[in-house]
Symmetry: D4
Subunit: 255 residues, 8 copies
């Protein structure tokens, strides 16, 4: 029984004040989250892509869910597909007339119906410190693009070769990026370095690269959290998807 | 010897091409960071307040440094003053004709010459889950205000009383905040909850509250990093200053 | 504007269906948590005492809050009062005609107006492995008693003297306890041992006793979590309050 | 030599007082645990299913042990069978005329002779935050059902979609559950959220889902232990079996 | 009612077989631990000193408990007395005609009535790597001596001066020690080194010395556990009392 | 040039005092460890079996090294052979006329020439808490037997069924064991329980069993180190070899 | 546009002072790292080999990159090649007329064109505690040799057989090594022991050997960091490449 | 009995070959470490200052030990004196005619008789990232100077102001430093940055600065160990003394 029905029943005397009050109360309890969302967060939800974590899904399930998501929203991110499923998935989706863009060194891809409805608004920079970090960076790029942002990407720009950071940053600033995602494993210093040089918010993504003490991204995470540079916030280790979405939500506002 | 001088000397033949080239090279090495900053990051730097960490400084030093900073920039944040110095510092600065605003439950304050030059641009929400977190939240508020943002603060809005979150969020969204800082200790769930309900970027600050396993902010940090909600990034435990600056840098762009 | 008012206005035609619908929607968003609680959790909330964590509160604040809570609910738990405030607080509250029961070896106390409204229903066992754990155990006892449970307490019953466990358990089982709280530091084995011998749910509380590797309750926590004995669940280190409330909520149901 | 024999021998003068005393003493040492159990814990033991951890057992051993257990008790839980053995085990047991119920997304199953002797008494709620947690939740369900409880299960009810929590809780409360098991990985917030909304004891099971800092269930565990909500206790990461048994032992008492 | 009484009552027909059986059963449950100990562990218990952990006890309590223990057993170890109580305690006990031996650099002491009943049997070596470790080593010495062992102690024999180890070991071996306690903080290497050179069991005690990564005894503990040298077992960090008792129990058997 | 040669040369004037002194000095530096060992530790070394860690060795190498070791010492322990090599190794060694005893549930075995030279002296108890711990326990048994000790083994004696501990301990004490090895995973409580009941030194071996928080033996290790029971020392997780050797070295002394 | 061109243009009036200044400024930003490096670090860079981490590279990529590096520098280190690629890589490179030296027990190799241009200067000692550490030690050896150092290697020199350390050290000191790399897993004591005996800097490499508490090199790392011996610094666990380069950079200076 | 005496006795027939052999053997065992050191490490030992850790020493003891050390070696380092003793110690030593140099922001000082015997040989750079790190850096400086090195120090050169690093490095390279000590807390990035820019070995000292996750130097340590830059090794957190000695031992060789 929806709210209008309750009210109409009440208006025509079919239920008493007490009955109406109770019915509305139950109604509130049942739909409370939904209401909150629909009323408060509606605009944003439209911008966010649907993310399908394929890591633990069977091939057929992923395929079906991805198609349904594209039907609903025009596009979807399929994240961390199983390696052996990747090509097969892409092939099957293309056969259905969909467009598929697979991230470099990555098993994450963007699938869409080609009718990208969002106009490009806002630009995001994505930087990766080493070749092993590119897959994570690509997750960020695909998500930001699916949210309608232009992405200026620059990979393999490590702290050991800091001279490569300067031209990359210059390109990003020239494109007027609203936020920069920096993916970095090992000691993770690149994120601090970048944040100390620019005036746009930097989102650090520690990458699970490295070995021994502080390996698997822990040193990079600690390093980024300890950074005394203002203008840097982080997401969890390897969370390229989250970083891309966060950066795009900043950049779009700006645009 | 600055660049112009080198060039002028070279122009009038006082130095050879080789000498000029070498002088410029040395000049580059010496001032490289500075140049990069001046050219690239200038706009942002102007917006960021000077932060004086007073925790390990002597009373006299803090006083002197704070005055100098206000002279330079019109204002400064003095963060984590020693408890026994707080009132004395505030008093001394006021005597010099400066304005001092001390954060609630906090030993951080904003000192300024009253001629706030930045026009208010952008709004930031600051939310704290429990009374113990207010001090950290106040750091964020003072920093964001010093950067010219309007701050909508709401404290003591915990997960145990989630019903208090809704009106607080409503107020923030009505004020059109560009980002929301959420300070939360214990299990830190508030940050995820807020991020799942709004469409503005949320900056989580784990607070060093709690005891036993996961105490001192570790559970809150882990919780925020693990959150499957998009739109949430974090700074280090108790880093109210960093969160405030990050949020303000987003909000200002938006404005 | 409360729900009844909205409905009455609507009934007498003061507002349209659309206006009523919108007003109810806003009402829902604002009070959602509150409604959910009032409707769903009302019965339980009545049973739970108000807990006032005095650790970081000033003397005057604690006093005032405690009095207000007793006025509201007839009783309150003041937990972890500052040592130097304990006697003063108890004295001041007694002067106001209130009854105060301080836990043994503890700075937690129960304050009430003497008109205990809850009839005793259900019994809870509380066991502590060593003298250092008694303070935590007393927190559990006071909370369970404030919830109307009879408590059978037995302290200083350690693993090194397992023979002391048997008569204690026997007494608890004879009193028909619905749950047993076991507080244990060091290796925390007592909780497993008890859970392996009885058929009532056991709530383990690791105590922050011990030193070196696994000290501060970590070994006890790990031990209890690893226990292969069914019938044991745990709360955080030193969380006597939580254990008492959990055990009492089980025991009351049973009664 | 059992106690009666000793006493009879002593009564007819076949052994002296001293001999009787010594014989009884030896008797005590040998059977002490057994006696304690038989006398004290008898009732509960009858209710608990036999759990066969198949993870490190060979196919043939698991089969044999499971059959023997069903013969003894009418039913048994086979937990974490090897994936490749699951179907084969189920088939072989069915051929023997036994009934097998495999948990969804799980390698745990309940095998019984179909003559369930326990009458349904008490209800337990089981909630899982994400699809990856269902296997753990199913362990809890099967154990609780084997103990004679009715189970109201609701899966895929996550924090990101909190609106799905309300109807699920409503259904559980309507069924009068005596305890609710909440399985949650990632940030594990669901357990706190549920415990803050209901007046029945909640048993949290952190699931080994998640990655990076706090992954493998550590963030969820920390979060649940830190929760400031009363009415929540936890078992170890992924310990669905333990949670189900604990919840059922509460619910049965209530019934 | 003790066992003999039960039996005698039964013998003279005052109770039936069934009554006797039940009385004995209850007796077993109540005293089970105690019986087990008295029958099985009696010899050893006599050897072990009573340990009074004074760390959290009030001056008056420690004094009283210590006197009672000496009355019972002729001697007692008072461990980790508060610094400010140490001299006062020693003085008070001496006034009562007791003998007090305080460990060097330690707040642990042995108090006895001077009528040492145990004849020296077995010798134990105690070695400390640095001056900071002497307090822990003295705990081991006092406990071992109280158990009737001769102790050959050698302090300040560090890995940095390995040449000092040889004469110390030589002295111990000449005294025919049955076990050697090695207290070592920092990297804890001394325990491995000693174990690799002698043919008596070595008990390692990591000392909570050191700083930074692996400080507080963690590096020493890890090091000793990792040692590939056979003949080394460890106790917890700073557990001099436990090491002394363990070593003495080995050495006495040998004697 | 050995010492005698140097001395003889010197005696017959072939070298000067200075030359002799220098030659001896060099000789010392070169053979110092060896000398120390030969002189100091000789007796023990004879007792210790040679341990061949086969885990990272190729089949052929393990075979060759094992044969050589048996030739030298009459026997050797091959520890943690690769599963696929185990039978093949045993077969090949038997073909050479050697005797091979493989540990139950284990890939460790004792190989010998059948002419066991050591007369049995001393007895050692070996106890395992669960079936998963048997492999580790068997390592301890084989090592202790190879050192000439009689071993009284009792497996699957867990804390959940403490009543099974009593008869096992009784049997060990009747055999006059000089030390007891207790292997226990999960919460590791068995080691404390045993140590609290007997008067022989107990060597705890945490087993890498268990999951979630404190899994992989960490809870068991912490638990054993925290135990407040005197008479318990530990070796590293899964170090059955070390525990067996340590226990045997105690037991042999006693015999 | 390089600096000379800018200056020449300026000199002949093709650009103004302002234009020259701006061009130089951009030039600085773009090439800043490069300039700094070229000017400051040039000499060293020449000495360092190119390291190709093959662990995550495809066979064909590794081959191509290795050949290119040899072309550029005459040699290259291919580190951690996949086991299955190792022989194939070596074969393919030899067919191209290159020289390949594979490290013992290692998948790291040095490939060169045979025209080693660096004259041997300086010697480095490389010591490994156990056979499992040899692979790491070989990485250090190959890197140091590629930098023109003579390497004195000594493997399988463990703490358990300290007598083997002396002749190894003697050989190294006789060869006048400028630094010694010590690779050690388990308790890692060898590094301290060596540093306490020699007067050359020692570079410790913890090896990821060991199990249980402190396994995977953590105990060795902690141990080396805690060492109270002056003259010891460490690199990360298993970082043989870094240790070899560091040691060689010391040794070369000395030569 | 020293070696010469043994030999002379033997030469004149006072002892037999066998007696001589045995006497030498005992002599070896006793003095083995000493011999090894005297013969092998003599040169270096002369260079190393005596370090007196005053942290746990009484005022009088520190004074006495320091004077004795200066008498023996001409100088000594007193490290981490208690704050309240610092001035008093310095005053007392000066009164004795000694020279005292206290480190800035430090409680470590160098005391000498003014007759510095070591000629300056080699230069060492010492760099600190923040003002809080200066005390640690000063420890390194004083130790390196006491070993006869010239020290080029540059403090407060942080990553946030990377432009300050260049002139500092330039000054160090101009002074021809043989090694650079870099002290850095928080994220510790400075050490990697410096190592990537220079061709001299860099010794990283993580400082126990920072808070929250990775605080107390752990992030800095992890960061430095993870650094992919060759030419960087580390010592433990806050180990300025060790870093200074290590760097000086490199620099002196070079000189």
């Amino acid at each position: 029984m929806d709210l209008r029905t309750i009210l109409e029943k009440f208006a025509r005397g079919a239920i008493t004040v007490e009955e109406a009050q109770k019915a509305i109360s139950i109604h509130s309890v049942e739909h409370v989250g939904g209401i909150a969302k629909l009323d408060v967060g509606r605009e944003m939800r439209r911008g966010l892509p649907e993310i399908i974590f394929a890591e633990r899904k069977e091939y057929a399930d992923t395929l079906r869910i991805a198609q349904a998501a594209v039907k609903r929203n025009g596009q979807a991110i399929v994240s961390r597909a199983k390696k052996r499923d990747l090509k097969k998935l892409a092939g099957a989706l293309k056969k259905k007339g969909l467009q598929v863009e697979i991230g470099r060194n990555s098993t994450t891809f963007l699938v869409s119906d080609g009718k990208r409805r969002q106009k490009a608004s806002g630009a995001v920079g994505v930087m990766a410190a080493g070749t092993s970090d590119i897959g994570i960076a690509e997750e960020a790029r695909l998500v930001a693009e699916s949210m309608g942002c232009k992405v200026v990407a620059s990979y393999d720009v490590g702290i050991a070769g800091m001279h490569r950071v300067f031209p990359a940053l210059k390109a990003m600033l020239e494109q007027n990026v609203g936020a920069i995602v920096v993916v970095a494993g090992m000691e993770g210093a690149l994120a601090s370095v970048v944040a100390s040089m620019v005036d746009v918010p930097v989102v650090g993504v520690p990458a699970s690269v490295g070995y021994g003490f502080g390996g698997d991204g822990i040193a990079a995470l600690a390093s980024m959290l300890q950074s005394c540079t203002l203008g840097l916030a982080v997401v969890n280790i390897d969370n390229g998807v989250g970083a891309g979405a966060f950066a795009a939500s900043i950049a779009k506002k700006r645009a």
